[in-house]
Every structure is written in structure tokens, then in C-alpha cells.
């Protein structure tokens, strides 16, 4: 395999920049955001250079590595801190650095009134570095470092305005939920080490034939748990809605386009494990299917524009996870949906940020209405993202989602039927709730209740949104044309070149997908046409109420885990106080009272000391006499 000296720079540049911005303090306030953006842009440039270099090589020579240093060398166990750039990682590198750079540019304007803008850019650069390490690591241990790094960056950025207690709590919630997933990843690494004696991707891939199916299933399930935590999948999805407390560029970059898709990357990267562990693969399908409907249902009821988009992100990642569960043929479509989703969801989040910018940080869609004519460019770009996500041809989401639905249906039998109907139902609900978001925000009566008209955002914000919306129009077709992405990823995810038999002709599936989308859109238009109240209706069905409360996920978590956990801790604390501390205190009080009692002997009179000595000596003699006699 070829080596490349450029890979380290991808990680080192943003990491250094982040350290400089954090250490330089106020001195960097005037230029920090510019440096952060330039560094991000240069990583994108390196990514582009590497991509074209990779494309010019023949298929089997495309992957490059770089060994940085020997990390662990104990007996037969060797882990190098080394990087691997192959056909799969380059997709992520381009997405992370490309979307990341656009969001850096956007943030210059979006955060311009924030006193802490420099710290924001430091965290963004830290995120870019960690995320690149995550996708470039050549072993699970290297990946793990990046995995924790993005968790940290996510925590810092969700709680960026930590002076508000609710936001700080949201950051903590995200961190704790992620931690559950991280435990899964660390267990997967430990089981891998026990099974293969190796934690690198290539080493495990070679050893997969010798491993027992139980071990592979265990590794697969633990990796799935990790993916659930990071990618906000059922049952660990509850943090994503609250994570919207962070600044909108963060929601766009970390909680829509890149970090939350790390779970999809993890499963795709571990394709050799999942292809050999059917039970784990089935669980992946179930998790993906449940989450895509779960997120979609929550999305129907949310009035907070960012939370509606977050629920949609959850649902779309559900699609990706479901696709990765479909085996070798599905991975490429998962990555395709991931890339197109990165474009259109980032564009919509930034659009939502632009609307908030013009609406004095109002996030409640019930207080919007008729914004389209005040913010025409935001409306246009958001509209393109909207058409992409609901899957209208020829926008990006159509190609990627259509492929997933098609592959799900082609599974055949009862499995194909269930998965196919879940994905189609998800597509219908997606069309419904996204139409609802667009109507409530950009159409209808003006409900903001103050005189100030919303104003269009500055060019520095609109240009990144524009570029992203171009991506959300074109990326789908570019990746789909001639099955380009499928062939590109084949050496990594589908080396045996497995193909599905087609149960249904693709055109029939496409017609079905478009038909359900039309149904969803029409229902939403019928329901939300005309005047809308500026408050959420109180008298709603029990289903709406449940969806507004995230289908009681928080209540369940609190009842099933938090309260019992708290009572266990409380009892442990009592045991600690009563028994452990009690013993220590007993030793102390016994010595103290013994000392108090014995103190009377020390009265200062020489004669009493002498008497004690005499008595002592006599006692000694008596003892000796008694023993020897």
C-alpha cells in the first residue's frame, strides 16, 4: 500500500489552530475567526488534492497510509498511530472539510455579535481535527480517539452558551447519552482484541474467517450500540433534540451533516463484521427502521424549527443505518444518502439559522409565517433543500432515498415487505412534516406579533447556504450517474461485487416513492393552508401530544434509568455513611474515650508514678511466678 505524507496535516492543522486560538486568549479576538476559516479551507484543499491523486491511481492502489508513530507495542500486540485514506474515508474527508469550511464562513457572520467568537472557532477546528481522525484512523483504537474527540467538541459546542442552565444541561445530556454508546465501542474493541489479537481494520478483516459467530455477533452488537449513541438512533436518540441548544452552525455541521453520521461510518467500516454476523445485521435493520419512523413521527409535532429539523436528521440517519443493515449492496447507498443528506440538511439548518437571524432568534414556527417574501434568497435555498429531502426528482434526496427503498424492497419476502413499507411510510411522513415546516415558516399569515419586518441575512451567510443548496440539487445525480459511488466504494464495502436480484423494476419503485411523497405533501397542504394560530393548539389528539413529548422517550429514560440510578446512588451513599464511615469513626471515638479515661493516671505526682511502677513490677513478678510455677 502506498504511503502519503499529507494525511497528518489534515489533522494537525486544525488541531494546532484550535490550540493557538484557545491559548492566545483575547489577543486572537480580531483574527481568530479568519485563521480558523483559512485552516479549514486548507484541509479541504488537501482533501481535494488527495482525492484527485486517488482517482488517478488504479482501483487496487487507491488506498494510502501514513504511520505517525508506534503507539502501543506489548508482546504480540502492536498498535501504530497511523492513518488510512481509502475510497470510503475520502468521501468523509471531503464532506467534513467541504461542509465544514462553508460553515466556518457562515459562522463569521452568524457569530459576529458574540463576544466569544474566537472560542467558537477554536472548538469548530477541534471538531474538524477530531472528526478527521475518526474517519482516517486505521484501527478501532485510533478511531476511538477521534470518536471521543468529536464527543468532546459536540459537548463544548452544545453548551457554548453555558451561561443558560438549560443549555448546559442539554450539553450534559448529549455527553451522557454518547457515553453509553462509547462504552459499546470500547467493549467492541476489547472483544476484538480477545478474538483477533488485533484491532486494526485490515488485521481484523483477515482474521474474520477464524472467529466464531458468537464473538462476531457480540462485536457487531457493541458496535451497533456505539453507533446508536453517536448517531442518535433508537434507543439512545433522546439527546439530539436538546442538542439544538447549540449555535445553529453547530447544529448544521455536527448534529446534521457530519458527527451524527459517524455511526453510519462505523458500521460501514465494520462491514466485514456485520456481513459475518446475521443477528447483529438484523438488529441494525430493526434499529434503523424503528428510528426512521420514530424521528419522522416526532418531526410532525415539533414547533421549534430546529427541533423539527433535528427529528428529521434522526429519521434520515435511520434510513442510512437501515441501508447499512442491508449488507454489501446497502453500504454504498447508505454513504450516498449520507453525502446528499450532508448537503441538504446543512443547507436547511443554515437556512433556519438565517431565518432566526432575521427574526431575533425566534425558533417557534408558530411565530413565523409569510417570511418568504422578506427573505427571498433564504426561502429559495431552503426550498431547494426541502425538495431534496422529501425526494422530488431530480433533486439529491430522490436518488439516494429511492435507492435505499429499492434495496429494502428487493430484500424480498416478509423482511423486504416490512422494510419496504417502513421506508415508504417514512418517506410519506418526511414529505408531510417538511412541507409543514416550509408552510409554517415561509407561507401564510404573519404571526410574529411585532412591527419589525424580518430582514435578509448578509452575503457572508447566504453564499455558503447557496453553495450547499447547489450541492443538494446536484450531488444526488453526480453520485448516482453510472453508479459512480457504488463502483467507487466497491473495493472497501463490497469486494465480492454482490448484486441483488431485482424483484421490482426500479421505475416502479421510483413511482411508488414519488407517489407517497405527493400524498404526504398534499395532506400537509390541506392541513396547514389558510390562517394559522400563533400558538400551538391545546386540544390535540393523544398521538400529537405523545409526539410533542418525543414519544415519552425522556420520561421512559427517567423512569427506567435515571430514577433507579439515583436511588441506587442514594442507597450506596447511605451505606457509605453508616457502615464504612461508621467503622472509621468508631476507631476514632474508641481511641478518644480511652485516652480520656487514661488521662487521670497522668496526674503529675511523682509518688503516684512510683506507686504505679511498683504495682507494675509486682504484677510482672507475679505473672512470671505464676507461669513458671
Amino acid at each position: 500500500m502506498q504511503t502519503s505524507e499529507n494525511l497528518l496535516w489534515l489533522i494537525a492543522l486544525p488541531l494546532f489552530s484550535s490550540a493557538i486560538l484557545l491559548l492566545a486568549g483575547k489577543r486572537a479576538n480580531s483574527w481568530g475567526h479568519i485563521m480558523g476559516t483559512i485552516v479549514s479551507a486548507s484541509t479541504f484543499t488537501i482533501g481535494i488534492i488527495e482525492f484527485f491523486a486517488m482517482q488517478s491511481r488504479s482501483e487496487e492502489n487507491r488506498a494510502v497510509t501514513q504511520k505517525i508513530f508506534t503507539w502501543i507495542s506489548v508482546g504480540s500486540f502492536n498498535v501504530d498511530a497511523s492513518l488510512l485514506l481509502d475510497q470510503l474515508s475520502i468521501c468523509f474527508v471531503l464532506l467534513i472539510t467541504g461542509v465544514g469550511t462553508l460553515i466556518h464562513v457562515y459562522s463569521i457572520a452568524y457569530m459576529s455579535h458574540d463576544l466569544d467568537r474566537r472560542r467558537f472557532f477554536a472548538y469548530l477546528n477541534l471538531f474538524i481535527a477530531s472528526m478527521l481522525l475518526l474517519v482516517l484512523g486505521d484501527s478501532y483504537l485510533n478511531l476511538y480517539v477521534g470518536w471521543e474527540g468529536v464527543g468532546l467538541a459536540s459537548y463544548l459546542l452544545i453548551g457554548f452558551w453555558n451561561e443558560k442552565p438549560a443549555y448546559a444541561t442539554a450539553a450534559k445530556k448529549a455527553f451522557v447519552a454518547n457515553r453509553v454508546g462509547d462504552v459499546g465501542l470500547s467493549l467492541a474493541i476489547m472483544i476484538s482484541f480477545a478474538t483477533f489479537g488485533d484491532v486494526s481494520f485490515s488485521g481484523m478483516k483477515d482474521g474474520v474467517d477464524q472467529a466464531s459467530s458468537t464473538q462476531l455477533t457480540a462485536i457487531g452488537l457493541m458496535l451497533l450500540l456505539a453507533a446508536c449513541g453517536k448517531s442518535a438512533q433508537f434507543p439512545l436518540q433522546s439527546w439530539l433534540g436538546d442538542a439544538m441548544a447549540g449555535p445553529t452552525p453547530v447544529s448544521a455541521l455536527i448534529h446534521a451533516a457530519t458527527m451524527v453520521t459517524a455511526g453510519v461510518y462505523l458500521i460501514t467500516r465494520s462491514n466485514f463484521v456485520f456481513d459475518a454476523a446475521p443477528i447483529a445485521q438484523l438488529m441494525v435493520l430493526i434499529v434503523g427502521g424503528v428510528t426512521l419512523l420514530f424521528g419522522a413521527i416526532i418531526g410532525m409535532a415539533k414547533d421549534d424549527i430546529k427541533k423539527a429539523l433535528a427529528a428529521s436528521t434522526m429519521s434520515q440517519i435511520g434510513y442510512m443505518i437501515l441501508a447499512t443493515g442491508l449488507g454489501p449492496i446497502g453500504y454504498a447507498f447508505a454513504i450516498m444518502h449520507l453525502l446528499t443528506h450532508g448537503f441538504f440538511k446543512a443547507s436547511m439548518f443554515l437556512g433556519a439559522g438565517s431565518v432566526m437571524h432575521g427574526m431575533k432568534d425566534e425558533v417557534n414556527m408558530r411565530k413565523y409565517g409569510g417570511i418568504g417574501k422578506f427573505m427571498p434568497i433564504t426561502f429559495l435555498t431552503f426550498g431547494l433543500g426541502y425538495l431534496a429531502i422529501i425526494g422530488v426528482p431530480p433533486f439529491a434526496g430522490f436518488y439516494s432515498k429511492d435507492k435505499i427503498i429499492e434495496t429494502a424492497l428487493n430484500e424480498g419476502g416478509i423482511k423486504g415487505l416490512i422494510l419496504g413499507s417502513a421506508t415508504l411510510l417514512g418517506a410519506m411522513i418526511t414529505a408531510f412534516y417538511m412541507t409543514r415546516v416550509v408552510i409554517l415558516t415561509f407561507f401564510g399569515n404573519e404571526r410574529w406579533g411585532h412591527k419589525d419586518e424580518p430582514h435578509e441575512s448578509p452575503a457572508l451567510m447566504l453564499i455558503p447556504i447557496g453553495l450547499l443548496s447547489v450541492g443538494s440539487v446536484a450531488s444526488g445525480y453526480l453520485l448516482y450517474k453510472g453508479d459512480w459511488l457504488v463502483h467507487w466504494l466497491e473495493p472497501v464495502v463490497n469486494p465480492l461485487k454482490v448484486h441483488h436480484k431485482e424483484l421490482l423494476p426500479p421505475i416502479v419503485v421510483s413511482i411508488m416513492a414519488v407517489a407517497v411523497v405527493l400524498v404526504g405533501v398534499s395532506v400537509a397542504i390541506l392541513k396547514y393552508r389558510g390562517e394559522q394560530p400563533d400558538k400551538a393548539p391545546e386540544r390535540v389528539s393523544v398521538f400529537t401530544r405523545a409526539a410533542r413529548k418525543d414519544l415519552f422517550q425522556d420520561n421512559f429514560n427517567e423512569a427506567a434509568f435515571m430514577r433507579p440510578g439515583q436511588s441506587v446512588v442514594k442507597n450506596l451513599l447511605n451505606i457509605d455513611h453508616l457502615i464504612i464511615d461508621g467503622m472509621v469513626r468508631a476507631v476514632g471515638s474508641v481511641s478518644l474515650s480511652a485516652g480520656n479515661k487514661l488521662r487521670v493516671v497522668q496526674n503529675g505526682y511523682v509518688r503516684s508514678y512510683a506507686l504505679l511502677m511498683v504495682v507494675g513490677a509486682l504484677a510482672l513478678i507475679a505473672t512470671i511466678w505464676l507461669i513458671t510455677a
Binding site: Q602, N603, G604, Y605, V606, A610
Partner: protein, 99 residues
């Protein structure tokens, strides 16, 4: 006369000395009682040397006398100093160390 009688004498002298140390207040008398106890021990040493027919007990008795002589010098100096500062030779008056 049996040699063991010396041991009885030694025990009686020691007991008298010990009782004197415990019951008398005057530091000079206490001091003399200590001397009595030392010499009772000396007597026992010498007696045992006689019983066992060797010189070790005699030698230890000499050592004890030397130590006793030194002790007299230091002890009397302390008693005289205490008397000078307190105008009292009672051992019970010198009980300030308990605090």
C-alpha cells in the same frame, strides 16, 4: 547462717525503700529510700555471686555503686535547685508537668 537469709534481708530492705518512696513527701527522704532500694539490689547481687561461686554479681554491684554515686550528685543538685526556687522540698509540690 544460711546464705538465703541475705536474700530475705535484701527483699525486706527493698520493700522498706519502695514503701518509703511511695508514702514520704520529703524529697530528701524519698531520695534516701531510692538509695536503700539500690543497695538492697546490691546485696542480692552479692549474695547470688556467693551462691553461684562466681564474680559476676560482685562486678555488677560495683557498677551499681558507681551509678548510684553519679545519681546522688545529679539528684541532690536537682533537689537543691528545686528547693531554692520553691522554698519546699516536698515532691508533691513539683507537679506542674501534668499541664
Amino acid at each position: 547462717m544460711a546464705v538465703a537469709n541475705y536474700l530475705y534481708l535484701s527483699a525486706i530492705l527493698f520493700t522498706i525503700g519502695a514503701i518509703g518512696v511511695v508514702v514520704r513527701r520529703n524529697s530528701i527522704v524519698v531520695f534516701m529510700c531510692i538509695e536503700l532500694m539500690l543497695n538492697a539490689a546490691n546485696l542480692a547481687f552479692v549474695t547470688f555471686a556467693r551462691i553461684n561461686g562466681n564474680l559476676e554479681g560482685q562486678v555488677v554491684a560495683f557498677f551499681t555503686m558507681v551509678v548510684a554515686a553519679c545519681e546522688v550528685v545529679v539528684g541532690l543538685a536537682i533537689i537543691v535547685t528545686i528547693y531554692r526556687s520553691r522554698r519546699s522540698a516536698s515532691v508533691d509540690d513539683a507537679s506542674l508537668l501534668k499541664r
